[in-house]
Subunit: 95 residues, 2 copies
DNA sequence: ATATTTTGGTTTATAATATAAACTAGTTTA
DNA sequence: TAAACTAGTTTATATTATAAACCAAAATAT
């Protein structure tokens, strides 16, 4: 009856990150941090997890002299997000 | 941008329970256990939490000689569930 | 009759997770 | 040149979910 919700996506911050990345080509660490209103530490950890799962790609470069971390969603990530949303509908679609 | 997702509802088993209770007047412990495919221990703990929050009402009685735990969603629970669903839409509605 | 399994749970322990705090390395500003 | 800020990472802690162990009574098998 209730299918499993991908635990990687069923976490507020990671879901917010994925939601954001679904709507843009790529986003900088600081932009994501602001939009999700998260701490850098927490965000760093969650980005690592999404990255380790292959749901997002993380690119480290420099903007001038400052480090710059840029993230984008992968094909696998898009698929996972869509699956998650479909599964979720089972739970919240109560009629 | 991203509103907080009620942590009490943003948990697979509790969400499944609430989803179930949204569609019936009341349900027995064993029925919920089967439908959510959960262990009795886990379910017992999660029902306590939902009950402590006032989201569900738990009634303990007897069916013949066997204990019978019956649950139903409260007004507060319905409100919380609806709020949760609305908030969630922010996250999954990506266009 | 009595031992064994099943029912309907609760309690306690453990594993996983999210979050916060502390830290690093370098940069800009006073 | 010292202080404060940027852009993060690492480590520690608190929370949470889950599983395992347990309990009391009832039903079933021996």
């Amino acid at each position: 009856m209730f299918k499993e919700l991908d635990p990687l996506l069923h976490a507020q911050l990671r879901l917010a990150v994925m939601s954001l990345l679904m709507s843009v080509a790529s986003a900088e660490f600081t932009y994501i941090r602001e939009k999700t209103n998260s701490t850098a530490g927490n965000l760093s950890v969650q980005l690592d997890k999404l990255s380790a799962a292959g749901y997002i790609a993380v690119e480290k470069s420099f903007k001038g002299k400052k480090p710059l971390t840029t993230c984008s969603i992968t094909k696998k990530g898009i698929k996972a997000f869509e699956d998650y949303v479909n599964t979720l509908k089972q739970y919240i679609h109560t009629r």
